[in-house]
């Protein structure tokens, strides 16, 4: 082999929530290796197992390589190859017919973490059709709760405690790192890498997690909190910090509103009471409060553990107030305020969405918008859209609008609670289009399957995540088979339907050029650079005349925005609706607390189980059980066990792993499990071990976000009989 035969193309891997520079080795038009790019600031050469094995995904024999239509009954798993023209003509005519006969509301979009970067094209297409039926299926419990808490507190929904804000916690500069309901070592290695840099620089690490994770193993202080009681813990820390005078008085006086009301409220959370609620020893809570408040700068990072229960928003608010009271905001090594939009070198997706959005009256037709106006309505801090559980109610019942066509860019059967209901809801739609890399459990229910292009086969601007730069990358290889970028699909459909997309988008190129206009560069020019840096300024609030974009112009410890919408303006803790204390009568039948869905760096939600190198390392769904609990139940390591929950009829099975890393009264189940290798079963065993099959999306809900009980219900487990 001659060396010059292989060319190296720079690209940006975005197969999960990260944005990592990669060097793609291409030989004769085929990718032979994907390496981390040492010059890319985000990952500095580092990679994750998913990215390093992606070569097995793009050339996988099961990959969908051309359009297909259903050959048998819905869900039977029989497919016929068709041409792109036939696929697009069929989809366009179905949409046209539905729109003419039933109105634009009969066409719906389901979208989430799929192939990122194409949200805009999808939203724009729906708005051009005149349909408000857009559902980001994780809207009620992924990021949006954090954004709403930030909006209420700092006036901007900028994900202050995640790295998503431009800037993000720079743990490298921190003296104290507080990681709460999160494990960046598994799901956000960029934050994880910053945490390691912090550790190497001598920063203290506090981890709040019911599980002893690989992150908790590195912590100076690990708080093993009872699931879904984090709100009480944060309120207890706030109270201690105020009582002991550990807060930044000058900062609070100058920049915060509502201190006295907050002080009164948190008096309800003395250490002893909080310890009883959370099962965290008093001394540990005290230590955490002292460390976080006195080791400056300190930064917090939160994640799904705080989002997916019925006290989510007020919990996140309480954590935000820790940041505010200690003045750890917009300082090096603290949490960061977003870069003003006027400084961005591109047109951000949320800006486009705002300008193309339908009128408030039209958007209100989307399920749930009226029920949770602050969270999903026209003034929502991200954008207006459906409330997911009600959206799927609509699909199932045909009310208030019967869905005739569903464009599906994600996998609700695996990703949402009550999987069987999701399956029925999707089946109840007249015509379902699904694009994907593989025939996932949701794709199996489609009428038409479209072959999706991976990041290696697309031109893309990566703007959504992290730090002060955006990344631009072109195709590394020609699309495999007949795979296509979704942007092209929406352009083609718009042309066939004779509708005009709400931004310059006659071609992918035109669209990308337009988005980069503020940078003064075309896509091709930006691609050569790879990275466009965005200047960053600390302590923006210190500037003459600066006002936080809240009603009072200050950081609102007492939230005027919440008050206006009729929510409690001050954070509070509420016992989980199903728990050993609130429903003791259930304990006999369901003696254990169930949490689920901790992420792994080997799999991304429902993706990755068909990749040999990944599956070798994570072959089966694992249920974590304390050895004492297992002994009482006669369960041994590696036994298959049935799980039943307080939330939903039915049972699923996972393989027991005995570990001291979990509380004896708590078990943890893995999420999103299906078995792509089961070729004889069109459903690929997607109800057998999938935790969402025994979870519910019915009330009670978080009063602000509508999150149902996802983390922290009750369950029982027992050994599965041998087949």
């Amino acid at each position: 082999m001659r060396k010059q035969d292989t060319k190296i193309v720079k690209s940006i891997c975005t197969i999960d929530h990260e944005t990592c520079g990669v060097l793609v080795h291409v030989k004769d038009g085929r990718v032979v290796k994907i390496e981390g790019d040492p010059d890319f600031p985000q990952n500095e050469g580092a990679m994750c197992p998913k990215g390093l094995s992606y070569i097995q995904a793009i050339y996988h024999p099961d990959r969908i390589k051309y359009p297909m239509k259903r050959g048998g009954e819905r869900g039977e798993g029989k497919w016929q190859r068709i041409s792109w023209d036939e696929a697009l003509d069929t989809i366009a005519s179905k949409i046209k017919q539905a729109k003419e006969e039933y109105g634009p509301e009969s066409i719906a979009l389901s979208i989430c973490d799929g192939l990122r970067g194409n949200e805009l094209a999808a939203y724009g297409f729906m708005h051009a059709l005149g349909s408000p039926m857009i559902c980001g299926t994780d809207a009620h419990y992924c990021f949006r709760p954090q954004a709403n808490a930030d909006m209420a507190t700092f006036g901007m929904g900028n994900f202050i405690t995640s790295e998503k804000s431009q800037g993000g916690p720079e743990f490298e500069q921190s003296k104290c790192m507080l990681i709460w309901g999160a494990n960046p070592f598994q799901c956000h290695m960029t934050i994880g890498r910053n945490i390691i840099k912090g550790l190497k620089n001598g920063a203290k690490l506090i981890v709040v997690d019911p599980r002893f994770t690989n992150l908790a193993a590195k912590a100076d202080l690990w708080l093993q909190v009872r699931p879904a009681t984090d709100g009480a813990l944060a309120l207890g820390m706030l109270n201690y910090i105020i009582e002991e005078g550990l807060y930044d008085k000058e900062f609070v006086n100058k920049y915060c509103f509502g201190f006295d009301q907050l002080k009164e409220r948190v008096k309800e959370y003395p250490l002893k009471k909080v310890s009883e609620i959370t099962w965290v020893p008093e001394e540990n809570i005290r230590q955490a409060a002292i460390m976080y408040a006195t080791l400056k700068p300190a930064a917090v990072s939160t994640r799904m553990g705080l989002n997916m229960h019925t006290n989510a928003i007020q919990t996140l608010r309480a954590v935000d107030l820790l940041i505010a009271l200690t003045g750890n905001i917009d300082v090096k090594g603290g949490n960061i305020l977003a870069i003003p939009e006027s400084d961005l070198p591109y047109i951000p997706w949320w800006r486009v969405e705002l300008s193309t959005r339908l009128s408030p009256q039209e958007m209100e037709k989307a399920p749930g918008v009226k029920d949770w106006p602050m969270f999903y309505g026209h003034n929502a801090c991200i954008f207006s859209q459906s409330y997911p559980p009600f959206f799927f109610d609509m699909l199932l019942t045909g009310k208030p609008y019967k869905t005739r066509v569903l464009l599906c860019l994600n996998d609700p059967v695996m990703g949402l609670q009550d999987s069987k209901r999701m399956r029925e809801a999707i089946k109840n739609v007249d015509f379902v289009v699904k694009n994907d890399l593989f025939i996932s459990p949701t794709a199996n229910l489609a009428d038409i399957l479209l072959p999706a292009a991976s990041y290696l086969e697309r031109d893309e601007i990566h703007t959504m995540f992290y730090t002060g730069f955006i990344a631009v990358a072109g195709k590394a290889i020609k699309p495999i088979g007949e795979c296509r970028d979704e942007k092209e699909i929406f352009i083609e459909l718009a042309m066939r339907l004779g509708i005009e997309l709400p931004f310059p988008m006659k071609s992918v190129k035109e669209f990308l050029d337009w988005r980069l206009k503020p940078s003064g560069m075309t896509f091709d020019e930006a691609k050569e650079k790879g990275i466009i840096e965005i200047p960053f300024q600390y302590k923006k609030y210190g500037k003459e005349g600066f006002k936080f974009p809240t009603e009072t112009g200050k950081i609102e410890l007492y939230s005027k925005r919440f008050e206006k919408y009729g929510y409690d303006p001050l954070p509070y803790y509420e016992e989980p609706p199903v728990s050993p204390y609130s429903t003791p009568e259930l304990l006999e039948r369901y003696p254990l607390i169930l949490i689920s869905g901790a992420r792994t760096n080997l799999l991304y939600h429902s993706a990755g189980r068909q990749i040999p190198w990944l599956r070798e390392l994570f072959p089966e769904p694992i249920l974590e059980v304390h050895p004492d609990t297992a002994e009482k139940l006669g369960i041994h390591d590696e036994d298959w066990v049935w799980i039943e929950t307080s939330q939903k009829e039915g049972r699923i099975k996972q393989k027991a792993r005995l570990t001291l890393g979990i509380h004896p009264k708590v078990v943890h189940a893995r999420s999103h499990w299906w078995f792509p290798e089961r070729k004889d079963d069109p459903e690929r065993g997607c109800m057998e071990s999938n935790i969402n099959a025994i979870m519910s999306d019915k009330p009670p809900y978080d009063p602000i976000s509508g999150s149902p009980i996802v983390r922290g219900c009750l369950c029982k487990i027992y050994k599965a009989e041998k087949d």
Binding site: E35, G45, R193, I196, K200, G202, F212, G661
Partner: protein, 166 residues
């Protein structure tokens, strides 16, 4: 000493298994063989505290490598720079070296039925590059180089610990 080797700072190893998959891709390994294997130790109680550690197991390219003498085919050799290699052309797959290795670092490739182990990415080292595992380690806790350089890293780390810098 221009002897090449690898140092892994276990204090910062997070058990992410990136090194395992980086090695798989670089050396085109099938399922069923690992040239580097991250072993999780714990969670276990150490005194009052819960602990968990991660130890990546792999060929240490021993100064006096017992596998070399154990091989009846003389298929295992040590290069001048210290890297221990198995010649797949000479290996009969008899597994005698497995027993000789105190670390269990040698395995049979299920596809080729030849004994294999970490080569320190000798093809990369010869091209002036770091081994794939070192290149991709998110914790940047893996170091490759001459033993003298590696010793210096270890000494600096110990010195810092002793004077309480970190």
């Amino acid at each position: 000493m221009n002897q090449k080797n690898l140092f892994i700072d276990l204090e910062y190893c997070i058990g992410c298994q990136v090194c395992e998959v980086a090695c798989k891709q670089e050396n085109k390994l099938p399922v069923g063989i690992k040239w580097i294997d991250v072993v999780q130790v714990g969670p276990r109680m150490v005194g009052e505290k819960l602990k968990m550690d991660f130890v990546p197991m792999r060929c240490r390219h021993c100064a006096k490598a017992p596998c070399i003498d154990a091989c009846p085919e003389k298929a295992i050799t040590k290069r001048a720079d210290g890297i221990v290699l198995i010649n797949p052309e000479l290996c009969s797959g008899c597994t005698a070296c497995f027993e000789a290795c105190p670390l269990g670092a040698i395995q049979l490739n299920p596809k080729t039925q030849v004994a294999e182990k970490c080569t320190l990415c000798v093809h990369r080292i010869d091209a002036g590059l770091e081994p794939a595992c070192v290149h991709h380690c998110p914790a940047k806790c893996m170091y490759s180089g001459n033993i003298n350089d590696l010793l210096k890293i270890i000494q600096d780390k110990e010195a810092k610990r002793m004077i309480g810098v970190v």
